[in-house]
Symmetry: D2
Subunit: 371 residues, 4 copies
Amino acid sequence: MYLKKAGLTLLFISVVISIGLAQTTELQENTRAIEFPDIPGYRTLKCDLHMHTVLSDGHVWPSIRIQEAMKDGLDAISITDHLEYQPHSDDIPHPDRNRSYQLAKQAAEGQDLIVINGAEITRAMPPGHANAIFLEDANKLNQDDFMEVFREAKRQGAFVFWNHPHWTSQQKDGVASLKELHLQLISEGLLNGIEIVNDDTYSDEALQIALDHNLTILGNSDIHGLIDWQYGIAQGGHRPVTLVFAIEKSEAALRKAMEERRTAVWFNNTLVGKPELLVPLIEHALVVTRKGKSQVQTVLIENHSDADYILKNLSEYTLHNHASVFTLKAHETTIIQVKTLEELSSFSLQFKVLNAFTAPGMHPEISITVE
Amino acid sequence: MYLKKAGLTLLFISVVISIGLAQTTELQENTRAIEFPDIPGYRTLKCDLHMHTVLSDGHVWPSIRIQEAMKDGLDAISITDHLEYQPHSDDIPHPDRNRSYQLAKQAAEGQDLIVINGAEITRAMPPGHANAIFLEDANKLNQDDFMEVFREAKRQGAFVFWNHPHWTSQQKDGVASLKELHLQLISEGLLNGIEIVNDDTYSDEALQIALDHNLTILGNSDIHGLIDWQYGIAQGGHRPVTLVFAIEKSEAALRKAMEERRTAVWFNNTLVGKPELLVPLIEHALVVTRKGKSQVQTVLIENHSDADYILKNLSEYTLHNHASVFTLKAHETTIIQVKTLEELSSFSLQFKVLNAFTAPGMHPEISITVE
Amino acid sequence: MYLKKAGLTLLFISVVISIGLAQTTELQENTRAIEFPDIPGYRTLKCDLHMHTVLSDGHVWPSIRIQEAMKDGLDAISITDHLEYQPHSDDIPHPDRNRSYQLAKQAAEGQDLIVINGAEITRAMPPGHANAIFLEDANKLNQDDFMEVFREAKRQGAFVFWNHPHWTSQQKDGVASLKELHLQLISEGLLNGIEIVNDDTYSDEALQIALDHNLTILGNSDIHGLIDWQYGIAQGGHRPVTLVFAIEKSEAALRKAMEERRTAVWFNNTLVGKPELLVPLIEHALVVTRKGKSQVQTVLIENHSDADYILKNLSEYTLHNHASVFTLKAHETTIIQVKTLEELSSFSLQFKVLNAFTAPGMHPEISITVE
Amino acid sequence: MYLKKAGLTLLFISVVISIGLAQTTELQENTRAIEFPDIPGYRTLKCDLHMHTVLSDGHVWPSIRIQEAMKDGLDAISITDHLEYQPHSDDIPHPDRNRSYQLAKQAAEGQDLIVINGAEITRAMPPGHANAIFLEDANKLNQDDFMEVFREAKRQGAFVFWNHPHWTSQQKDGVASLKELHLQLISEGLLNGIEIVNDDTYSDEALQIALDHNLTILGNSDIHGLIDWQYGIAQGGHRPVTLVFAIEKSEAALRKAMEERRTAVWFNNTLVGKPELLVPLIEHALVVTRKGKSQVQTVLIENHSDADYILKNLSEYTLHNHASVFTLKAHETTIIQVKTLEELSSFSLQFKVLNAFTAPGMHPEISITVE
């Protein structure tokens, strides 16, 4: 049966209905959706800006990338098929490097998902691989001289970032290091960002490069196969994402936010970003309620996000039910009891967030006010 | 990174290691593998003989079909892309109808999986859709006159089966019914089998047609998207499969078994097939142990298969801990206590298996000997 | 700390809060609560009328029995400590056989739970063991002549039932059989009911005795240790219960319903009872919705009860996605597709419920109307 | 049925069998068992040395405490019923304060569990409550003058520890503080230990007191109801335990270890103890395997314990797949990739363990050698 509409409709009904039942115990598809709160002034857009399809060396049609993105609750994706690497060319002799974008765009019709035209510039190191996104015409980047490629990307108003600078196939020791050429690209405004996370890898050194050179940080899946297999429900996992703090959910706002360095990276229960972004991101995920009034104050903290926050208590008060390091589990309510010595009408607590990083080895500090 | 070998190796290590740990509580990938025992004289081959890829109207490259099959523990698959329906022809102008077979074959290299060359003859009803498998050259079937297509298939030694005769797009009331043309195909030996299960649909009427005309029964996924999404772990599910009882795991033995009608269908906790196949299939899934010796005899029944068997007690003895209908859950041990009135050195129990069918509304009866 | 009130309050808060969170994935305490619908004219009261505490040979104080009952969502319990068997008498030399009732009553204060004064008459077979419930003074039953004990129970207006007539310690072959003495008790109105289920045992013969002699059927836990260990969450289990169909939730209505034989038994995914009770019980658990209008009609069946109903299709229509035996899982929505041949404005479906019994080997038939 | 032996035997069989099946997915009873490794020179005994039964203000018979201990994999328990508080005295007018010990001892017969005679001295603050364990005769402690009680305990060779010094019923602000009287008890050798954890509470201040005055630290459940309800499987939880590092599993060795301060406390994914005990405890839980040889070295770390270890990387090498803080989940294998710059035949890694404490706010540092 190639006309599967009937089947799809039924599946949809099934999911909707079972969510509606109070006591359903089955896992629902939407348990995959990544959840983080907006912060004051900005929408928090969950983005994966590096992925592949059969139109270069991936294993799926662009439509699957759209469905995966919807299941993961993403706001924006860019399919960045290789410009220069076309292993399926015997079967797909496609000359048009905008084709995966077009097909993805079609597949996303009617969905609340931003699809960005992108392509991967695939060169030996240096410069290595780089993604150009927000392209007008990817075909114009398909030329030999890579400096010309970067310049064409700029001409089109693209945002260009260095992919997996720590990739061991191009950097044997895995230590991201800036070559002369990269400095030149940066100084010419041809390189705007850098992946500090790619798939299941992370680089402290890439993060340091971003800080030193004011580059936008990104974390992307670079998926070739299936998201579910690479980051399966069974593993309790999710793909890495770039969190982009944009004034609204639009391609233009997203582009501006990336240019203005308003991104953070979420992977493997770790958040990375500037303190001015991470602190409100974490604080707004937490809903704090006081229970009664007492010298040993009971406080309920609901964590409305996908991160388990590992906290170190910095406040002057010790806790009655936790040592000074404890965890606020994702989507759970944690009860803490604070020894305030006397009954206080309000007080605040400070915590270092040990699984969040503002720089290699540096953690943001959040504050929780109890009123 | 387009060279993902390192990543794949690591994943493999991860799975192997965690299985080795005694107390691992996570779901492992291999929980998807479908399990049924061999029966005396035959290997039980788990087969999915109807599926699609980007080479017709599917959403994945053939390589994904191979990985899905391995995860599901299949023994054989056939990718049966449409001969006549090519919605991706703008991007994949492939003239070669053997191509998905070739690509799947490549992807399966080194795996213990039989890949069969197949194609879907895609016509209005009658005859509707039919799969020809064990083809030599699918291209030769790509011609206008469908009678010629069926004859060419026969010339190549193909096994041909009628797909989803109950498909509502071609049979509005969903009631499979044999047209004159089908009778002709059958009488000429051009139609050898019939799907009684396609995706999540089942047809009692198709089963009756198979019985009336001695056709091989099949149950296949007809997957276009992703197996995991259609039959997800979250749903506790598995794809429908055709169980083929072959003298060995080889393409030739598989073909012969299909010709000789030695198949059963497994879908949605239901087994369908001839009693001479279903009875040993179920009996060999059960390992029976007596515990001590007593007037109320304790018997342990381990169910080493993926089916929950719903049993109706037909024996002269009543049970001490179950009513006359009860379930042997898949991969669990059920304890039954049999009131044999006196201590017996051996006795046997008879059960009707209510979720297994030998014909519409008819159930096989199994016997369990306790010694 | 012997004053645990603070701790208990906190626990309560914790549970309430986490239910409120949309994405909480943890099992909640209330997943144990047994759920069945009321039926026209009657409340369905979930009762366990046979259990023990430290006041005879049990292992817990009566307060634990109250908490267990609340967790299981019970409406009524009776603690039926042995009159004659007092293994803890060295430590608890209690002469008062009403004491476990008094302590349970205290512990249940403020809870919506009916606590019934009961006691177990503990004799050799015949008559074997029997529970007298709705007692005024259990002490008056503590005398030698058992006929006098049964008469005293009657004098107090008690309801008396035969416990585990199939118990292998008193009936070696496990086959419940009525002795002369039981007939006498029944004819004198001294024996009103019979356990067909006790703990994890069931007796077809006891059910037949109940039918032959018009006795009220019961299924009880007879728990001595902990309910959670005997019927654990880990096993997905629940204790056996007697479902009593009473005009309201009150001790008087409960007593009357038992006298008038309005009970059913729920154990091990099996329901037993008269058709006039089982049929509405099952039908009212199912919420049926039609989806669109079609020749192959999609019907959604929500099962709002704890039973997985194993159905056999008796209607004239075959199904498009199930064979003639299939299961409506507890607390899930099952989609069935009915081949009605033409679009019907309304139609009805008949099913035999294979895991429900009105007599040994006999099943009730339910009807579902689709409008 | 008061003779439940048959039932218990069956249950046992059931558990054993299902563990034997390769694909069993149910939770098994023994998933509750707390697991920590022995350390060089010592057995790691898991102990709960504070609990109650119906013989003071608890809700269960001592037999239940034994079964709970076996399920939790404990090596030793002491039932410490209150000497002075007897709310069940109407029903259990027991004069013998050794009785819960005797009953527990009987119930533990044949089990590999050390049962220690203990009692809780239950006084206003100061001194508050204290447990005396390893008693010869608890009755001799049942006298008015509490100084005499402590002295009698010492005379009997008991080990005495201060219970929940931070209990808000006796210390309103929850801040444990040593009174003059406690100093006197310590100086006379009448107070040997201190609970830093009681039920779900923890006290940094109590830990500091232990360090300042060289007291043995303990963490106990103080359970009155049911362990499963207080620390349920549903919550993924376990009771707090005192880990005692003894030269062998015997009452004498246990007593000696407690006297010599060789204890640690495990509660709520937190370990507390001296570095010389915690460091080997954590290091021996980890089995480290190198995979191949590379500049970016893959290392597999199996965590054979119940603790999720939250690690901070202190070594000179950064990781290829983790930031500098990451978690080794309990009973799982974590793969880390170490950027050693060159291929090394061996190297070592240092980590601070953030959920382990050697003093308030202080963490132990472990070392892992990769060879």
